[in-house]
């Protein structure tokens, strides 16, 4: 329970009064630095968890709270090393809880508050604590840990299991005698609000609510602006290399931008569209090698586990090689992200997105209602995907499957951009069916790239004198495994595509995106 107190309250006098009237014992006051930890994309919050680090001389606690209060708080010892990746934690209950939620993401302090806390204890004649009251003053820090501003002082009541009566008496006193009202927000929420933020204020997913009748040009700019915001929010984490997912989300937002620019045709001025398409393609190129290295490092344990026990340690030099190259690629990428070209891209693109006045000669479909554009673009891309998919046969070259994957991605992005224009359940089901196909195509392509990359790495490692004969033997064995998996993915393709291209799915696509037209997508054969 938490009660807000007046800003000008004299906490010492209030504490003294409470102690006298309620037979409480004052414990030593503490000045605590409190960090509210989560991943950048709020993975703990999404799992109903609030993780709070409390640091004061002689007081080091890591509190694991469930935001729905469905079970009591857990207290963990604070690890010696700075909190970051779950993988770096010692084996134990904290790692067991954090690892599946965080995966590859790093814990960051979403909010920092300095609290002056005066604990007051209610004890029985045996000296057993029945409940604790904390009188607290708070100072909020901003993201840079610089600006400090006060938050309202508060009183919290910590109940102890099995001592309900003591708790009820205390609450009755606070609410009926002192006329305090319980707060329905947490300190963490209050702090975020003061910074103009809220819990869960970042997600890499495209969540837009679009208006079907608005001109397509206006909607497209809204989509592009949202993607650009996501990109910019990941920029600093990408440059600092906080964790691999900042770059991943930065790249996905860029790829979606490219896709929106090229797929939503004849809506925005073509000359500028062409320029930005090429500039965002450049952005994809300069960030690609670092992402590749990140992916190999993320998958490293998976690779190791494919090998027999005897060969596993032999693969370690590959990790050394990947780590080293990840660092150098990261440095190269950071240089590019600090270049004039990138700064110009941002400046010009911001100006482009802010254009509101219609051009003198607007593109043909600029004024067309959004829904019509969405229907047309999704239907057309869907037909292309089906056509390309049906042309695939067991001997088709890997490039054909790669092209099909790219078309699938374009379709998925379009469906995600315009999702809010369609009944939620219907479009979700279709995106899901597409995801299943994409998963297979993604696997196939990744395995193709990885096998070739491993061959390239082996050459480079020899030149750089990293690894022994056993290392190359292990890498060879790994290539064989990856190749086997790739063959399996190819075998599975026919089945996955048939499931995507079945009558029910086809009708559903038609029903949702091509209802008005007489022509329809013919079934296979």
């Amino acid at each position: 329970m938490r009660y807000l107190l007046d800003h000008d309250i004299d906490l010492a006098a209030f504490a003294q009064d409470l102690c006298k009237k309620r037979s409480l014992t004052a414990l030593s006051p503490l000045n605590i630095q409190r960090q509210f930890m989560d991943s950048f994309d709020w993975r703990l919050y999404k799992a109903n968890v609030a993780l709070e680090l409390e640091l004061a001389p002689g007081h080091r606690k890591l509190l694991w709270k469930l935001t729905d209060n469905s079970s009591p708080d857990l207290v963990f010892p604070v690890p010696r090393a700075k909190l970051g990746f779950a993988a770096d934690l010692r084996e134990g209950p904290l790692k067991d809880r954090l690892a599946p939620l965080l995966e590859m993401r790093k814990l960051i302090a979403q909010l920092t508050i300095t609290t002056h806390r005066q604990p007051l204890c209610l004890r029985d004649q045996e000296g057993k604590t029945l409940l604790t009251l904390n009188l607290e003053h708070h100072q909020l820090q901003d993201a840079d840990g610089q600006k400090v501003e006060p938050l309202p002082p508060c009183l919290t009541v910590e109940a102890v299991r099995g001592y309900d009566n003591a708790f009820a008496v205390c609450i009755d006193y606070l609410e009926n005698k002192l006329q305090l009202s319980p707060s329905d927000t947490s300190l963490f929420q209050d702090g975020l609000v003061r910074l103009g933020r809220y819990a869960g204020d970042y997600s890499s997913k495209v969540k837009l609510v679009l208006e079907p009748s608005l001109p397509a040009a206006e909607t497209t700019r809204t989509i592009l602006r949202t993607l650009y915001t996501t990109m910019l929010r990941n920029e600093s984490g990408t440059i600092q290399d906080i964790d691999s997912e900042f770059l991943h989300d930065f790249r996905v937002a860029g790829r979606r931008t490219r896709s929106a620019l090229s797929q939503i045709k004849n809506v925005l001025p073509q000359t500028e569209v062409d320029i930005f398409k090429s500039e965002f393609a450049w952005l994809g190129q300069i960030t690609g090698p670092t992402r590749d290295m990140d992916v190999y490092l993320l998958d490293f344990e998976k690779y190791r586990n494919l090998l027999p026990e005897l060969l596993k340690p032999a693969l370690d030099p590959l990790k050394t090689f990947l780590t080293r190259h990840q660092r150098s690629e990261q440095q190269k990428m950071v240089r590019a992200l600090r270049s004039k070209r990138y700064r110009d891209l941002k400046k010009n693109y911001t100006a482009f997105l802010e254009q509101e006045t219609p051009d003198s000669e607007p593109p043909a479909k600029a004024q067309q209602p959004t829904k019509k554009t969405a229907d047309q673009r999704i239907w057309k891309t869907y037909c292309r995907l089906v056509e390309e998919g049906r042309a695939i046969h067991p001997e088709s070259p890997a490039e054909d499957l790669h092209e099909l994957r790219k078309t699938g991605k374009k379709l998925r992005y379009l469906m995600e951009f315009f999702q809010s224009l369609y009944p939620a359940e219907d479009i979700k089901a279709l995106i899901k069916s597409l995801k299943l196909l994409q998963e297979n195509l993604g696997n196939f392509q990744d395995l193709e790239v990885q096998t070739h990359a491993l061959q390239g790495f082996a050459n480079q490692m020899q030149q750089e004198k990293i690894g022994s004969v056993d290392t190359f033997l292990a890498m060879g064995a790994l290539c064989l495994h990856l190749n086997e998996q790739q063959q399996q993915a190819r075998t599975e393709f026919a089945e996955r595509f048939a499931a995507f291209d079945d009558d029910i799915n086809r009708d559903a696509f038609q029903q949702l995106f091509h209802k008005t037209s007489r022509s329809s997508m013919k079934s296979k054969g």
């Binding site: 857990l74 207290v75 010892p77 209950p93 045996e126 000296g127 057993k128 102890v160 099995g162 001592y163």
Partner: protein, 248 residues
């Protein structure tokens, strides 16, 4: 959820001290621990400064799930709860005999599965219907042994009971407690016994004034003497115990 019993047929072997310190160390690491003081003498309950009283007594605990949940008390240590002792526990044998099942205790603990990671049963000495229930309900038994002939004799009795009842002997984990290195007999037994009983735990707890002081301080040894030899030995014993529990 793992259930661990701290048990010996013989009393005065350091059972309660071990149970309290193991529970404290497990909770300090972030495990959710429930400590059940099954001994009507209520020594552990006294250490935790909690009243040795359970509403409805032992009968209530074994008849209704809510009685068990209502009786749990939070201790002064994070993540560590206590199911207190009650004078009615002296009649537990009678209650359990009425239940006619040696897995009644296991059934009672079932609803706590999601709430706790570890349940520690601090058992009274003697061999009884309750002990049999403890053996069935526990994943493992830690048996404190003072390195004396008499103590080893009672350990043999426990092994014989397990053999007779066809229970799994690998779940019995003896360790030495109250070891006085100045005594030759203690040194000899500590050296020879693990060869005869390979399941013996590596860490031994020395005879210690600090452990005796737990009664006076009414708290685990780590909370008032975290660097004394006994606390260091308990740290080692806990590390070994945690590994064994993980590998069960």
């Amino acid at each position: 959820m793992k259930t661990l019993a701290i048990y010996n047929i013989k009393g005065g072997v350091g059972k309660t001290a071990t149970a309290v310190n193991m529970a404290y160390l497990a909770a300090r690491e972030g495990q959710r621990v429930l400590f059940w003081d099954l001994d009507p003498q209520g020594s552990s309950t006294y250490y935790f400064r909690i009243q040795p009283k359970v509403k409805g007594g032992s009968k209530g605990l074994f008849s209704a799930k809510h009685k068990l949940l209502e009786s749990i008390k939070g201790t002064d240590y994070p993540n560590l709860d206590l199911l207190p002792a009650d004078f009615s526990y002296r009649k537990l044998d009678h209650t359990l005999m009425g239940a006619k099942k040696r897995n009644s205790l296991r059934q009672v603990l079932k609803p706590l599965r999601d709430e706790y990671d570890l349940v520690i049963l601090d058992c009274p000495p003697s061999i009884s219907v309750l002990s049999e229930n403890v053996f069935t309900a526990s994943d493992a038994l830690m048996v404190p042994l003072i390195p004396t002939t008499l103590s080893l004799r009672t350990f043999e009795q426990l092994l014989k009971f397990f053999r007779d009842k066809k229970l799994d002997l690998d779940r019995i984990w003896p360790f030495f407690s109250m070891v006085d290195r100045r005594k030759k007999l203690h040194r000899d037994i500590v050296e020879i016994f693990p060869g005869e009983y390979p399941g013996t735990m590596d860490y031994a707890i020395p005879n210690s004034t600090h452990v005796e002081l737990m009664g006076l301080k009414r708290s685990p040894v780590h909370s008032f003497a975290p660097r004394c030899p006994a606390a260091i030995a308990y740290d080692g014993l806990w590390t070994e115990l945690r590994e064994r529990l993980e590998n069960l």
